[in-house]
């Protein structure tokens, strides 16, 4: 079993949204519609607030592909979901968004960003619903559905929700430490993958502080963006992982894709070595592979992911070959 790379399928610099050329198309995630595959992603603008001028703000946009990914049908031209109001958990960005269609309703789980003083940011997971087929979303309240708790003190984010075995499952990440890892630099964060369940998709029961996927790096592995798909009678999780410091420009310490298998959605065994997913020298994903999203379409299993510079240059597609 291996991933067959199909290649880069979306370059944001070829497109404009709301009059601005796109910069970044991060964390692609799908909504499968009858006549198309809608891929949501996060793009960035510069903030013009009275605080933190010039810092990035992440916004959600989407691109529609034909169901065989051979054609781009269009790019969103209106605001998909607004950022939060003053003081809200998602005031300074939404990145990423996970969309789930179930029983005729379309839900979205957002990762909202807000800026802090002693550390750069915090995040939490919000819920929104769409009443127009996934073109725009309305938030269910100003606050999050999943945030910090006794044993997950900060950086709860990257929620991915699916309905398996009669309940909703959310895989997400939670922060385990903020620390100054390089002298004189801003504090760096470390985070791990966690799991919560729910009967209604709104009220969640966390395992609270339980890391469900083991580390493979020798020190301070950060794990992000879990997504899960059924493959045969098993469940396959894709995620990305990196060192917690010096990971932005050092390819040796940058994000790589990790994988894990489970038979029961509870115990996961790491399977990076089975897939040996790697970048292609000299190409858009040579130095970094991150923000994977696995999904099923037409009986096949696919993987979307970002490459160099956390998705500045868009995303690519791969297919699972049995």
């Amino acid at each position: 079993m291996h991933w067959n790379k199909i290649g880069q399928i979306f370059d944001p610099s070829d497109h404009s949204v709301l009059g601005q050329q796109l910069e970044f198309a991060q964390s692609p995630q799908t909504l499968i519609l009858e006549d198309r595959v809608r891929v949501y992603f996060s793009t960035r603008s510069r903030s013009r607030s009275r605080y933190g001028d010039g810092k990035f703000l992440s916004h959600i946009a989407f691109v529609d592909f034909s169901r065989d990914f051979s054609q781009i049908l269009g790019v969103s031209q209106e605001q998909v979901i607004p950022l939060g109001d003053l003081g809200c958990f998602d005031e300074h960005g939404i990145f990423p968004i996970n969309v789930l269609s179930r029983s005729g309703e379309i839900f979205a789980y957002t990762c909202g960003w807000n800026r802090r003083v002693s550390v750069s940011v915090d995040t939490a997971i919000g819920l929104a619903k769409s009443y127009d087929g996934g073109r725009t979303f309305q938030k269910v309240g100003a606050g999050p559905v999943l945030g910090p708790s006794l044993n997950e003190p900060f950086l709860v984010g990257d929620g991915f929700v699916r309905f398996f075995k009669n309940q909703f499952h959310m895989w997400y990440i939670f922060g385990t430490s903020w620390a100054e890892l390089e002298a004189g630099c801003a504090p760096d964060r470390t985070y791990k993958i966690g799991h919560a369940t729910s009967t209604d998709g709104v009220n969640w029961k966390k395992e609270d502080g339980v890391q469900i996927v083991s580390d493979r790096l020798p020190e301070r592995e950060s794990q992000a963006l879990p997504s899960v798909v059924e493959v045969g009678y098993r469940y396959l999780m894709a995620f990305c992982y990196r060192y917690s410091s010096d990971f932005r420009s050092n390819p040796e310490r940058a994000y790589r894709l990790g994988f894990a298998w489970s038979d029961d959605l509870m115990e996961w065994s790491r399977a990076d070595d089975q897939f040996r997913f790697s970048g292609t020298t000299g190409c858009w994903d040579a130095d970094m592979q991150c923000y994977p999203h696995v999904f099923e379409l037409n009986g096949k299993t696919f993987l979307l992911y970002n490459g160099n510079e956390f998705g500045r240059h868009g995303f690519g597609l791969a297919e699972l070959i049995h």
Binding site: F89, N114, R115, V117, S118, G126, V145, L146, L150
Partner: protein
């Protein structure tokens, strides 16, 4: 009918600011733990501001002679709880505190403060336990014990822990919005409730317990609930959303009653306490805490500038009915 007879200022932190650097100013949000010989009163205080003019806050206690609450027996040698570690919800303050006994342990629920970029702060509610009769506390975990939710998005603070009819009740405040007033972000918050079997896993009731009276953006705090004569009595404080640092729109003490802890009738005109003509509580009164001691019912409360000069005592006349 009932009313409160003011007995005067009990504890003025300025008498201790020479001795303790962390007790420079303020003694806010008094909460009692009654002992055989003394009444331990937890309160919150601040060292002087840092170079940027920013404050952190700590909680500490003072032990009062049970027979004479104006007789100070001891003041804690240090804060009862450290500040949280880098990036946690309580990195910049642990205030206010409410305590409850559970066997030989004492649990403290407290507001933890962090600093934000677009608004000055956020607050979450933490829990800590004491194994040494309430002198020092250790966190049960690095994060908050009750989470934010779609209708309680930020500024969850002012916890008051109670145990009624075999269940724990956590009264607290939750932020409703940040209101920009002359370019300054001011929080509006309302009184809320959660219920728990174990004090750790909480179910939110999900409604404002006290209707807003003076304006839609009225801020409410310090929901202090006391059971007497078959009813639950809540004393709390409220203020306007703007210009609330002075006398006209500053904090006053309100009153409400309930039979079931969830549906409350607000009757501020029955609170039985108001600002004084002159003195330390002549501009505002806030953060009431009601307790029973040796057959009498008392209230601790704060005066001008929300406790900069400490807290005072009043005694109930009549009956809470």
């Amino acid at each position: 009918m009932f009313s409160w007879t003011k007995m005067g200022l009990v504890f003025d932190p300025e008498n201790y600011s020479e001795k303790y650097v962390w007790l420079k100013q303020f003694a806010q949000a008094p909460a009692t733990l009654i002992r055989d010989e003394y009444v331990r009163v937890y309160f919150s205080c601040r060292p002087g501001p840092d170079k940027q003019g920013q404050y952190v806050s700590y909680s500490a206690y003072v032990d009062l002679n049970r027979k004479n609450l104006f007789d100070i027996r001891a003041v804690s040698e240090r804060p009862i709880l450290t500040l949280g570690s880098l990036g946690t919800f309580d990195e910049f303050g642990t205030y206010p505190v409410s305590v409850i006994e559970k066997g030989s342990d004492i649990f403290a629920y407290y507001g933890g403060w962090t600093r934000c970029e677009s608004v000055p702060f956020n607050v979450g509610i933490g829990v800590a336990v004491s194994k040494d009769s309430g002198k020092t506390f250790e966190r049960l975990g690095p994060g908050p014990v009750i989470g934010y939710s779609p209708d309680e998005p930020f500024v969850m603070s002012g916890p008051k822990i109670r145990f009624f009819e075999d269940r724990y009740y956590l009264f607290y405040i939750a932020g409703r919005k940040w209101k920009l007033v002359d370019g300054r972000a001011e929080p509006v918050y309302k009184i809320r409730l959660a219920v728990s079997e174990d004090g750790i896993c909480w179910n939110k009731i999900g409604k404002d317990l006290i209707e807003s009276r003076i304006e839609i953006d009225e801020a409410q705090a310090s929901p202090d609930v006391f059971f007497a004569n078959g009813k639950y009595h809540m004393f709390f404080c409220y203020r306007y959303s703007e210009d609330y640092r002075g006398k006209a729109q500053g904090y006053r003490i309100g009153y409400a009653w309930s039979y079931n802890l969830i549906d409350w009738t607000r009757e501020d005109n029955r609170a039985g306490i108001d600002i004084s003509e002159t003195g330390w509580d002549s501009e505002m009164i806030s953060y009431p805490h009601v307790f029973e001691l040796d057959g009498n019912i008392y209230m601790f409360y704060l005066g001008n500038q929300v406790g900069r000069r400490g807290f005072g005592l009043a005694k109930l006349e009549g009956h809470l009915r």
